[in-house]
């Protein structure tokens, strides 16, 4: 019995790559971007919420980013580890590891960062936080955006298309093997 095995080299499309835009979408105008996790549902993790203000700047300009971390617990130590996307310069030389003592009177902590980037686009400052009360502590991660330069209109990835029935689909190419069978 003859079996012919065909191994097709996949055309791999990495999800999320910004390729040639298929259509223009709305570009935000406001220069100060804000966000918060307060009031949102949260998965298990450190009992910490985060709010931010991030000033949109041009390439090379310094953005002021104000971050507030709040906890609902009364005691312990809040540990914060900060990392910057490679394209971001930490202009304020903010320490990458911070600790805050939590008391019933002090549950909210501010972190002021000045940052810049030579590269247009959306970059992130990430915070990994925990509350230490002497036992194994859970973590919670946050990401604060830094908007730089001409923000390209949010482009649809080239792997977003419409199926025959009009449904939006996000397509990726499989690793496929084909063989003839009896």
């Amino acid at each position: 019995m003859k079996k012919t095995k065909l191994l097709l080299a996949p055309l791999l499309i990495i999800m999320g790559l910004q390729a040639k835009p298929l259509e223009e979408t709305k570009v935000e105008n406001s220069n100060i971007k804000t966000g918060t996790t307060i009031g949102h549902y949260q998965k298990p993790g450190a009992p910490i919420n985060m709010s931010y203000e991030s000033t949109k700047v041009d390439a090379g300009e310094v953005s002021n980013i104000n971050i507030t971390l709040t906890t609902t617990t009364n005691n312990g130590t809040m540990n914060v580890s900060i990392t910057f996307d490679d394209a971001i310069k930490n202009e304020s030389h903010t320490k990458e590891k911070l600790t805050f003592k939590i008391t019933p009177e002090q549950k909210s902590f501010k972190i002021k960062i000045q940052a810049s980037s030579e590269k247009d686009g959306l970059h992130y400052i990430r915070l990994l936080t925990s509350v230490d009360r002497g036992t194994a502590s859970k973590l919670r991660a946050f990401a604060v955006p830094l908007y730089v330069g001409e923000l390209k209109p949010k482009a649809k990835s080239i792997n977003i298309m419409k199926a025959m029935n009009g449904e939006n689909i996000s397509v990726s190419k499989a690793v496929e093997t084909i063989e003839v069978i009896e």
Binding site: A46, N74, I160, A174
Partner: protein, 506 residues
């Protein structure tokens, strides 16, 4: 007449047979006839965690090939016409028959599970118009021989996450189906993309679970315990009742009893479904894990999500150890959640659950008590949390027309959703009509901001709220129907120990 009917039947069959199905709704469909078949398997790569003491990270050197179970698969012509639709089995296998010769066809696998009157779960990109994730094979001619076409989604190119997500949900659904085969799961959308950098991971209370996908930070696509935890909230919302007030929480916290139960349930369920008590949350560079069965008893109690997850897991598991000499399995827990927990007259909590469990399995009451008391909780005797060590009533009874005094909140354990931030009052209205609900500060810190939520007990529903910014007092009029009610009284100034008097009625 018969000939006309015959012709009409053919026409209708051709019309429907040629139509592209307007919804991708699974079930076998085939619009062609031919001598060939295409069979195959849909698989995906699953990345496993590496636990190092209390930290957990994704280990990209530990990847297994898993089958994509019960997903929709289509055979599609170059024109875009769908020739046939089917569903993989639990081995990820699919089969198309009666396919035409010499026709270019691709196989398309959807990150979607659909079974009529059973489940409807799909993984979508919430940042791109809710695009449904699909995995495509190439257009290859069927030639003149039947073929096997296997498709695999890789982890390295971010193709596999949608299928890994579905697999975790399928595991959870199967746990429940094995207990109650008649269950029908309402539609559920799993929202995931690598662009979910700030989204958080949560159940939205309706038909969406949002999943973090930040590949340089926190991504949850392979964290099955997290997904099952969130699915547990979906389960509570659709089949049980969850009175949780949400908000941030941690295992050492003294939580509002509603939140404590909801989070303990989600954590326990993740261990129950996977039969693996290690709950983990992987993050780039770090991550964390906890043992839902054996974690250190940090501030144990009826207000502790960690105590509740341990109790629930011990009630379920077959591993008898220490105070846990009971192996109930999932069914009794499911039965309580879908019956007494759903209709309880007080807020859902460990008290309502354990009371319900002891009612349906009275022969195990003593062994249930033993598990509960190992968490430094007195034997649970009713839904009101009576018989507690501190002997301070969680619920106070109010008589309509009289004033209930010394309803005191405090912030000893924190704010917003912690123990003693909320106080609960129950009362009965015998005569329907408009009545005033009034909460007044009577002692403690000034400039309080008392608020409340009013619930009718049967059917359980939040029917009114008093949430103005008025200091020291909150008052509304409400048109009551006869029945039983609960009041949730709280202070949003969070200034500390404050006492209120409460009156319902004129």
């Amino acid at each position: 007449m018969q000939n006309i009917l015959y012709i009409l039947t053919i026409v209708v069959t051709l019309l429907f047979g040629a139509c592209d199905s307007s919804s991708i709704e699974g079930g076998d469909k085939n619009t062609t006839s031919g001598p060939l078949k295409i069979i195959g398997k849909i698989e995906y790569e699953r990345v496993h965690p590496l636990h190092n003491n209390s930290t957990s990270q994704l280990d990209f050197t530990n990847i297994t090939i898993e089958t994509a179970k019960q997903i929709t698969v289509q055979a599609i012509k170059r024109s875009g016409d769908i020739i046939a639709t089917t569903t993989t089995d639990d081995n990820g296998a699919y089969s198309f028959t009666k396919l035409p010769e010499n026709t270019f066809i691709r196989i398309r696998a959807f990150a979607k599970m659909f079974k009529k009157n059973k489940w409807d779960v799909k993984v979508i990109d919430n940042t791109n118009d809710e695009a449904q994730y699909v995995l495509d094979g190439s257009f290859v001619s069927t030639g003149t021989q039947s073929t096997r076409r296997n498709l695999k989604a890789l982890a390295s190119t971010k193709q596999s996450p949608p299928f890994a997500i579905l697999d975790s949900i399928y595991l959870a659904m199967q746990k429940v189906i094995n207990t109650d085969s008649s269950i029908i799961f309402p539609p559920l959308k799993m929202n995931w993309t690598v662009n979910n950098t700030e989204s958080g991971t949560y159940y939205d209370g309706d038909d969406n679970i949002m999943l973090q996908g930040d590949q340089n930070g926190d991504s949850d696509e392979y964290d099955d315990h997290i997904m099952i935890h969130e699915w547990g909230h979906y389960f509570e919302a659709k089949f049980s009742r969850a009175d949780s007030i949400g908000g941030g929480h941690g295992s050492g916290d003294h939580l509002d009893i509603r939140l404590a139960f909801g989070e303990g349930w989600g954590n326990a369920l993740s261990g129950i479904v996977t039969d693996n008590p290690i709950y983990f949350d992987t993050m780039s560079g770090s991550g964390w894990n906890m043992n839902v069965e054996h974690a250190t008893h940090d501030t144990p109690g009826w207000f502790s999500e960690a105590s509740i997850q341990r109790i629930l897991y011990d009630l379920y598991d077959s591993n008898d150890d220490g105070s846990d000499q009971l192996s109930l399995g999932f069914k009794p827990l499911y039965n309580v959640l879908t019956s007494s927990q759903k209709t309880t007259k007080t807020f859902t909590s460990l008290f309502t659950f354990i009371k319900g469990l002891k009612d349906i399995t009275p022969n195990n009451a003593e062994l249930i008590d033993r598990i509960v008391t190992s968490e430094e909780i007195n034997k649970i005797v009713d839904i009101y949390g009576s018989n507690r060590k501190d002997n301070i009533p969680l619920y106070r009874k109010l008589t309509v027309g009289t004033t209930l005094s010394n309803i005191c909140v405090d912030t000893i354990y924190g704010i917003q959703n912690k123990l003693n931030n909320h106080k609960y009052i129950y009362f009965t209205v015998n005569d329907s009509g408009s009545k005033t609900i009034r909460i007044t500060r009577s002692s403690g810190k000034i400039n309080s901001d008392p608020d409340f939520k009013l619930f009718k007990v049967a059917p359980f529903k939040n029917v009114a709220s008093g949430e103005s910014a008025t200091k020291e007092v909150e008052e509304i009029s409400y048109n009551f129907s006869a029945g039983e009610y609960l009041l949730d009284v709280y202070d949003t100034s969070f200034k500390g120990n404050i006492c209120f008097s409460v009156k319902v009625g004129n």
